[in-house]
């Protein structure tokens, strides 16, 4: 029996017959056919045959050994978000698989394409409480776009083809394939790999109805105060250019959700900033003043809308989305434009008039000036001795010029980074939006660097989040990856503390979190680092971090009790946004 690990295609061409492959080899052949270059994983008993096969594919597939499966899946998410390709994860059965659940939920709600392979016990042991057996398919059903258990190797090529197609097409999402150990070991006649381009029960893109495009265009053409809000759909649809053309022709001011951030350059004259709870003043207030609200590839999350019954009630709402279940889900659309925005936006652009709205845009600028005076200036140029998070971001912007990929965790630093980081290019902002997964940034930054190796990657993380997945420093050490880690340490779980201050009478219940000496921890991993507590050293430290050849950890001590403003308090309307 030949071990057909390498040169399968050639062998097939020579013999014109099927070659014998194991299920494990078929998995890896599928990866190669799908253009996979990087796998994030962690071995274990039930996935050993796949790892054994991987040993022979070392020249074609790069495997990154993470320190925890959660780190692996967040890395795959970072990879997918930075590269636009599907992220690949390997994990073993039982605890390996359950450790993926947080990442799956995160990828599901943030529409990130992933293909996860989990090992499973032998098929004859299913349901017997075998060692490291867990019901992965049912545990992950609510947090996967699709999942499937393979017990027969013959199925593997077709199932993998389906997995890639489902993960990447339509509204992307995570797919999990659970493969029993016998199927990984089983030899079968491999007849080559066929890409999947059609599943009869699955319509990734709804068919575009021109009449709704016409209706939308008519509303836009008649509007006096139109407003565009956009989300990650623009990035996922690779429609950044189409989107830019649309807003430039229509002249409509636009604001983003945090997952839409970087789809439009920060400096674009029609980029009015961020929506939602900690978004900018103008975009929030004027949501309740516009006459036509055009939502592109976004899902009206509660953090964006605030109180729904007081959200844009005066406006006609046009909602462009690839996922029909999003239209009318939270906000009732007057015109729902179903379809891929890569296709619907140009159709819409063709039908709208070239316009400008100088007075309306000026209104955004007025609010912007007011926010600048009352909030932004002091955040970016604080007078006190304590450093602010905004100040760190300002200096970082000055040094990167907006060319870095910024990966953020969850909490105050995330809101500050999204508000103030400058972006020139799309796929530059990687954060856990829908699920709000603390511990996301460090592993996601690893993945982002593999996904965008020629771009600087800076992980901005709080002192809480970094301690959740700090073990991934080991991955950085072993891969010698050039990732910059910027810890903004306020010695608190800052966002929860802010809420406790504002809404719970300053009863600081378990938000006072101690930190290790991060620079020493990093040095234990062979990673260079520095801690800055004084403003005088900030710029130099950031410069050193960015220019250092290799990974670098910079801890910046910032004010303990700073709050993120503006803020739409929970249960309030977007127009009730508070500046202090």
């Amino acid at each position: 029996m030949e071990t057909a690990a390498i040169g399968i295609e050639e062998k097939q061409a020579e013999t014109k017959t099927a070659v014998q492959l194991t299920g494990s080899q078929a998995v890896l052949e599928a990866f190669i056919a799908e253009g996979v270059d990087t796998i994030f994983g962690y071995p274990g008993g039930a996935i050993m045959p796949i790892y054994d096969a991987l040993y022979d594919y070392n020249d074609k597939l790069k495997h990154v050994l993470v320190r925890h499966e959660q780190g692996g899946i967040h890395a795959a998410q970072g990879y997918a978000r930075a590269s636009g390709k599907a992220g690949i994860v390997f994990a073993t059965s039982g605890p390996g698989a359950t450790n993926l659940v947080t990442g799956l939920a995160d990828a599901m709600i943030d529409s990130t394409p992933l293909v996860c392979i989990t090992g499973q016990v032998f098929a004859h042991l299913l349901g017997t409480d075998a060692f490291q057996e867990t019901d992965v398919i049912n545990i992950t059903a609510p947090v996967t776009k699709w999942n499937y258990q393979v017990t027969d190797a013959v199925e593997i090529p077709a199932v993998l083809a389906k997995a890639f197609y489902i993960a990447k097409s339509g509204r992307p999402g995570p797919v999990l394939i659970d493969i029993t150990k016998n199927a990984q070991l089983q030899k079968f006649d491999y007849e080559g790999y066929r890409h999947c381009d059609h599943i009869r029960s699955y319509r990734p893109k709804p068919i575009i109805r021109k009449e709704y495009i016409d209706e939308a265009a008519a509303l836009i053409n008649a509007a006096e105060k139109p407003f565009v809000i956009f989300g990650q759909g623009v990035i996922l649809g690779k429609a950044e250019k189409e989107f830019k053309t649309f807003i430039e022709k229509s002249g409509i001011p636009a604001a983003w959700t945090i997952l839409g951030l970087s789809a439009l350059p920060t400096e674009h004259p029609l980029n009015m900033g961020m929506l939602g709870m900690h978004g900018n003043y103008g975009p929030n207030v004027l949501t309740n003043e516009c006459d036509v609200l055009v939502a592109v590839g976004m899902r009206f999350d509660d953090r964006v809308t605030g109180r729904l019954d007081k959200y844009a009630r005066q406006a006609k709402i046009i909602h462009l989305d690839i996922d029909p279940s999003e239209i009318d889900k939270n906000v009732k659309a007057d015109v729902g434009v179903w379809g891929d925005c890569k296709e619907t936006l140009p159709l819409l652009t063709k039908r709208i008039e070239q316009k400008v709205y100088p007075q309306w845009v000026e209104k955004f600028r007025q609010y912007s000036r007011e926010e600048e005076q009352q909030v932004i200036y002091d955040e970016l140029n604080p007078k006190g001795d304590e450093m602010t998070m905004g100040e760190v971001l300002r200096v970082l912007n000055e040094l990167t010029g907006g060319d870095a990929v910024i990966v953020t965790d969850v909490g105050q630093h995330q809101m500050v980074a999204c508000r103030y980081a400058k972006f020139n290019e799309t796929r530059s902002n990687i954060t856990s939006g829908g699920l709000g997964t603390m511990g996301f940034a460090l592993p996601a930054a690893i993945g982002a660097k593999f996904g965008a190796p020629h771009r600087p990657v800076v992980a901005v993380i709080g002192d809480g989040g970094v301690q959740m997945t700090i073990q991934e420093l080991g991955t950085i050490m072993q891969t010698e990856l050039n990732v910059k880690i910027l810890i903004l340490n306020n010695q608190f779980l800052g966002m929860v503390r802010q809420w406790q201050q504002l809404f719970h009478d300053k009863r600081y219940s378990f938000v006072d979190i101690a930190s290790p000496d991060y620079v020493t921890v990093a040095s234990g991993y062979g990673i260079a680092g520095r801690k800055v507590s004084e403003r005088a050293g900030l710029k130099d430290a950031l410069e050193t971090m960015l220019s250092h050849n290799g990974a670098y950890l910079l801890e910046v001590m910032v004010g303990k009790e700073n709050n993120v403003f503006p803020m739409v308090p929970q249960g309030c309307s977007v127009s009730e946004i508070r500046l202090k």
Partner: protein, 196 residues
């Protein structure tokens, strides 16, 4: 909007695990499923779920969209009771002695369209089909004569306005989707039959 009974009809591939994926769409939203039936459909290899819930139309519309989002779901419809013809089957076990002695039982059963499906020395099993009110009424009637056991099936329903799924399925089976696309066919007829 008031809650009312809706019957959801789902055409699916016959895959292990899909029942759970559909069930959790309801349980995640804390919605109680009154009855759930899976059966083959008129199309070979295509399964049909019939699910009954009591909810507002708005909630049901959103649920149906979530169901259709599942990769292995071909199509989902929701209908009010006036838009469908439906039946439920019920079985009743009563003591044979009681029936033999009391003639009125036999008359009652005939009145309710019940028929005997098993007759043993000690018990007899009757079967009837109909709407819930009808099968419920027969319980009440049989109780005084010692109803030993009762069970009712899930609802099965046929949509009055539907012209069958056969034609539509051909499109799904085609490699390339046809120009006449089912998703939007009923878009302006939401009162009749909902479809995305």
């Amino acid at each position: 909007m008031n809650k009312q009974e809706f019957t959801i009809t789902v055409y699916t591939e016959n895959h292990i695990g899909l029942l759970n994926r559909i069930a959790i769409i309801f349980s995640r939203r804390k919605i109680n499923v009154q009855s759930l039936n899976t059966s083959p459909s008129e199309v070979d290899g295509i399964h049909r779920f019939t699910i009954v819930i009591e909810e507002t139309e708005e909630v049901v519309r959103k649920l149906v969209r979530q169901i259709e989002k599942q990769v292995e779901v071909l199509k989902a419809y929701f209908n009010t009771n006036s838009e469908i013809v439906w039946q439920e089957l019920a079985l009743y076990k009563v003591s044979t002695d009681e029936i033999a002695e009391k003639v009125q039982v036999e008359r009652l059963l005939r009145e309710y369209g019940a028929r005997a499906v098993a007759i043993r020395k000690d018990y007899t099993i009757f079967e009837t089909t109909g709407h819930r009110e009808e099968t419920n009424k027969l319980i009440k009637v049989l109780e005084p004569y010692g109803l030993i056991e009762f069970v009712r099936s899930a609802r099965v329903a046929i949509i009055k306005a539907s012209s069958g799924f056969h034609e539509k399925i051909k499109e799904f089976e085609a490699q390339e989707p046809g120009s006449e696309i089912i998703e939007n066919e009923f878009l302006n007829q939401q009162q009749e039959v909902f479809s995305m």
